[in-house]
Structure formats: structure tokens, C-alpha cells
């Protein structure tokens, strides 16, 4: 399923135009992204669906697999999704 498919299905269900629905879906995804990027309250909890959080990865010593040279990998933040109980059960049904 792509975003276009999602827009079409949501539009049919809530009786909005496809154009309006696309604005809505972009706004949902954008607000999740923004929430995750903020340093303080970096989490989004969607009841019945799951939660998005950011996990910190420490800097580590890596290696260029091609040249074998050691490289320093900087610390980074990784978006992480944890499915809720309901969604977990649904997927495994």
C-alpha cells in the first residue's frame, strides 16, 4: 500500500475529497515527524495502534568494509515504532 492507496481508502471512508484527505494524511505524518524531532517530548502514543519514539545510538568504532580502515561512527537518533497490544495481536492472527 502506498500513500496514494491510503489517501483513496481514507477519502472513501470519511467522505472528504482526495485532495483534502491527502492534506490530512500529510499533516498526520508531519506532526509525528515533528514530535519525534523535538528534544523534550519525543514520543507519540496512538491508542490501539502503537507508539513512536526515538532511540539514541552511541558513537562507535566502525570499519570500512571495503578498505578495512577504522572509522568513527557518530552518535545518532533512530526513530522506533512499537506496535500496541491490539496491533500486535492483529498482525499475528
Amino acid at each position: 500500500m502506498t500513500k496514494a492507496d491510503l489517501v483513496e481508502l481514507v477519502a472513501a471512508r470519511v467522505h472528504l475529497t482526495k485532495k483534502d484527505t491527502e492534506v490530512v494524511i500529510d499533516s498526520i505524518l508531519d506532526s509525528i515527524s515533528r514530535a519525534l524531532s523535538s528534544k523534550d517530548d519525543g514520543k507519540v502514543e496512538l491508542r490501539g495502534f502503537g507508539s513512536f519514539r526515538v532511540r539514541e545510538r552511541r558513537a562507535r568504532q566502525g570499519r570500512n568494509p571495503q578498505s578495512g580502515a577504522a572509522v568513527q561512527v557518530p552518535p545518532k537518533r533512530v526513530p522506533f515504532f512499537k506496535p500496541g497490544k491490539e496491533l500486535k495481536a492483529l498482525v499475528d492472527s
Binding site: M1, T2, K3, L6, L9, V10, R13, V14, L16, D20, T21, V23, V24, I25, S27, I28, L29, S31, I32, S33, R34, A35, L36, S37, S38, K39, D41, K43, V44, E45, L46, R47, G48, F49, G50, V54, K76, R77, V78, P79, F80, F81, P83, L87, K88, L90, V91, D92, S93
Partner: protein, 92 residues
């Protein structure tokens, strides 16, 4: 941030609060329905959701030390998209 917070941001796009909440719920419902069918969802820029099958494996109850079999199951995996990765690492 919760569903209600997202709905109020969505409402700023010219919908009523009620319409916005309905649209948010409908979006999540449709995603759930697709995942239930095992469909992969790819939202460019945001990320993708995919159902993956895990094989059964032998585990151990860490409390009793007893060996147990963990049944095969399906789990949901989210892979963040490039744009989301960049936003999260921009340090806002």
C-alpha cells in the same frame, strides 16, 4: 503526543475537530486493516511497515531455567524513511 493532539493539528487545515478526529481514526483503521492482511505499507519519506514471519525457536525461561519452545509468529517491523531519519537527527 496523542491522537487528540494530532487531530487538533489536522483541524488547523480547515476541518472541524470532529472531522479531524474521524480522519485520524480512519487512517489508523485502514493501516491496521492492511497490516492484518499482511500487506506492506510504504509511505515515502516517512517509512514503511512490514509484517515479518518469525520461525519457532527454542528459548529458556530465565526464572526457572527450563527450556521452552517459542512458537512461530508474525511481527510488525517499521523502517524509518530517509526524510524522517534526517528530521530526527537535525537536532530541533
Amino acid at each position: 503526543m496523542t491522537k487528540a493532539d494530532i487531530a487538533s493539528i489536522v483541524a488547523n487545515k480547515g476541518l472541524t475537530k470532529k472531522q479531524a478526529m474521524e480522519a485520524v481514526e480512519a487512517t489508523l483503521d485502514i493501516l491496521k486493516e492492511a497490516l492484518k492482511k499482511g500487506e506492506k505499507i510504504q509511505l515515502v519519506g516517512f517509512g514503511s511497515f512490514q509484517v515479518r514471519a518469525k520461525r519457532a525457536r527454542k528459548g529458556r525461561n530465565p526464572q526457572t531455567g527450563k527450556g521452552i519452545t517459542i512458537a512461530a509468529r508474525k511481527v510488525l517491523k517499521f523502517k524509518p524513511g530517509k526524510a524522517l531519519h534526517l528530521v530526527v537527527n537535525a537536532g530541533g
